[in-house]
Amino acid sequence: MEKIISHTGIGVPLRQSNVDTDQIIPAVYLKRITRTGFEDALFAGWRRDENFILNQEPFNAGSVLVAGPDFGTGSSREHAVWALKDYGFKAVLSARFADIFRGNSGKQGLVAAEVAQSDIELIWKELENNPGTQITVDLESRTVQCGSISAPFQIDDYTRWRLMEGLDDIGLTLQHEEDITAYESSRPAYKPKTLPARSAD
């Protein structure tokens, strides 16, 4: 994973709450077996509407999405994060993120920055009044800067550290493989195994 300390890019106001992952990427795009190439799938339903924000310049070149509360609800599909990243987004700002989406973002180097709704409202106004305004998302200081607006954001320490170091989770865990093996040797004997396969017949 690439390290991220700070990112600056055009902010995109998405004045909507409860943006679920079915909207971020409709199910029909989940049939692919690759991990990249999902840029066309991002908000595919909404992008058919020419007034949608990503169909307007300069927002179509945005890299910081500023959304209403409860972003990323619903399906666990990590494709939602891949689609945002493939399109060019580096960060999403929202007052509340769904847990699974937040986790998936952290694994893929997308910054999910929790910003108070009152600050989101200010940023929305700034972006709408001055389209093309850039937003800086700084993990070091945990602040976002948009025009004259400076606002703190929340992100948990562990995710922030991993993003800033660009660390791979599996590699980190495998450093403790002995602990996993030790745990396995202490599991109760009655715990089920999928193999050999058994059936009701």
């Binding site: 909507q16 709450s17 409860n18 679920d20 079915d22 909207q23 409709p26 199910a27 029909v28 989940l30 049939k31 077996i33 690759t34 339903g45 209403g68 509360p69 409860d70 609800t73 619903g74 399906s75 666990s76 599909r77 990590e78 494709h79 994060v81 509340r96 769904a98 847990d99 699974i100 986790g103 998936n104 694994k107 893929q108 948990d156 320490d157 562990y158 989770d169 599996i170 865990t173 495998l174 403790h176 493989e177 602990d179 996993i180 745990y183 396995e184 599991r187 109760p188 004997a189 009655y190 715990k191 089920p192 195994k193 999928t194 193999l195 396969a197 058994r198 059936s199 009701a200 017949d201």
Partner: protein
């Protein structure tokens, strides 16, 4: 429990029993715990990129004997003996088959007696048991919490992590008690309980929490009904929902193909009996719901929190104080083609879908069949019945339920996720309206431009008869077929 031990919630007990390595630090800056995973469920949609990741890194699947796969999201529910017509769907299914072969994973393919929706298959095989940790690249993994397991959905990066390490790095969840006391009226089901809970706490209300459903109304439910409730915990924003195991749970598990037997069974039950929140255990939040006054509950909008009692009306934007809620209401009404103030029971549907990991088990099919038996379907309504698994389909056929559905004019299909998310050909057309026993009413979820009302199997059945959103109690004057 020793006198010095702090009382624990059910979720904390299961968590603590699975800590491989405790994270260092305290409070906010505490590192995640490494949690052991007992069972990993796979399906074709969220696994291909994870297998590919293993292959690229040259890593092995650590525990094939704690992993099982099934084909469900893409699979057709008609002509299952023919090659899958949609080429991308076929490729994804074939990729799962090749991956399972290469990594030694047990797979139940289309046509197999144990194939079906992953969350129906696990419990039915007896692989889901109390006190386990269960994960799957699917948010409705919360279903398995009905057994007192800690079960939750994960993203594909985490799927790969579990494949390689049989564990996950996780921060402890907070806990929320959902207390449901009283007795459900006839015609009111566990689906109505969970829809009412979501409307009450909102789609973000459960974020960061594990929900524990408690109280006399929950204790009275069957396992099928408990699974329906835990299944939709994610729709309240919670990653997991749990119900303490009891005799109902033990009776369900006993004798299933992968249930413990002999001395193992006794040892297991001994342990499982400890799996309840201790007297005096502290929850981080509590919610109360009165089962006595609950009515059939349905959604009117485009997220599962936008629901009301079936006897109520569609809300209007001005009914909401918060500006964001008002805008969300306006947008939802426009998408749904509804006007505020319309009685819910006046809403006419084109389609009724009985299925999904929420409501496709034997009890759901039996309940719907009992309502429609000997009745006539509204001629303008299409009804599709999709059993949750091939095994459920076989059992239903052994009981003659398939004939009841067919006589009524419903389509009796093969098992899979089907119209819940329309990854296979089962989709709504633009503007079509559906009473659906599934879990999500998002824009376009059941097909581009399709409109979804989430309902219980009983409401689905009554709606198929009357053509408008209805409960069984509305059927008194419906003509009986000769």
């Amino acid at each position: 429990m020793s006198a010095t031990q702090t009382p624990q919630t059910l979720a904390e007990k299961v968590w603590n029993a699975h800590v491989v390595r405790r994270g260092s630090g305290e409070g906010e800056s505490r590192q995640p715990d490494l949690i052991y995973i007992d069972l990993h469920l796979l399906h074709e949609v969220t696994s291909p990129q994870a297998f590919e990741g293993l292959r690229i890194a040259g890593r092995k699947l650590r525990r094939p004997d704690q992993t099982i796969a099934t084909e469900d999201h893409n699979t057709p529910t008609l002509d299952i003996d023919k090659p899958i017509a949609d080429l991308t769907s076929r490729t994804q299914i074939n990729t799962l088959r090749e991956n399972c072969k290469e990594f030694g994973v047990r797979l139940h393919s289309l046509g197999d007696k144990e194939q079906g929706i992953v969350h129906v298959v696990g419990p039915q095989l007896g692989l889901t048991q109390p006190g386990m940790t269960v994960v799957c690249g699917d948010s409705h993994t919360s279903t398995h919490g009905a057994f007192g397991a800690l079960a939750f959905g994960i993203g594909t990066s985490e799927v790969e992590h579990v494949m390689a390490t049989q564990s996950l790095s996780l921060k402890p969840f907070k806990t929320m008690a959902i207390n449901v006391e009283g007795t459900l009226k006839p015609g009111v089901t566990s689906k109505d309980i969970i829809l009412a809970v979501i409307a009450k706490i909102g789609t973000g209300g459960g974020q960061g929490y594990v929900l524990e459903y408690r109280g006399s109304a929950i204790r009275a439910l069957s396992m099928d009904a408990r699974m329906t409730i835990c299944n939709m915990s994610i729709e309240a924003g919670a990653r997991a929902g749990m119900i303490a195991p009891d005799q109902t749970t033990f009776d369900y598990v006993k004798g299933r193909p992968h249930a413990p037997s002999g001395e193992d069974w006794d040892a297991a039950v001994e342990d499982w009996k400890q799996l309840h929140s201790d007297e005096g255990a502290q929850f981080d939040a509590e919610v109360f719901l009165d089962a006595d006054t609950l009515e059939p509950f349905v959604t009117w909008g485009t997220n599962p929190g936008q629901g009301v009692s079936l006897s109520d009306r569609v809300p209007a934007p001005e009914d909401f104080e918060d500006e964001n809620d008002r805008k969300a209401c306006e947008r939802a009404l426009s998408y749904m083609g509804l006007t505020g103030g319309t009685p819910m029971k006046d809403i006419r549907v084109d389609t009724v879908f009985l299925g999904s990991c929420t409501n496709s088990r034997m009890e759901d099919l039996r309940a719907a069949a009992a309502i429609i038996k000997g009745k006539e379907k509204d001629p303008n309504v299409r009804m599709i019945v999709v059993p949750g698994s091939a095994r459920v389909r076989l059992e239903a056929e052994a009981e003659g339920l398939d004939q009841i559905f067919k006589d009524f004019g419903a389509e009796w299909r093969f098992a899979g996720c089907s119209m819940c998310l329309g990854m296979n050909p089962d989709q709504l057309a633009e503007g079509e309206r559906c009473a659906s026993t599934s879990n999500r009413n998002f824009e376009g979820r059941q097909g581009k431009g399709g409109r979804t009302h989430l309902v219980s199997p009983l409401v689905a059945a009554a709606t198929a008869i009357r053509g408008t959103l209805s409960s069984p109690s509305d059927l008194a004057n419906t003509p009986v077929a000769v």
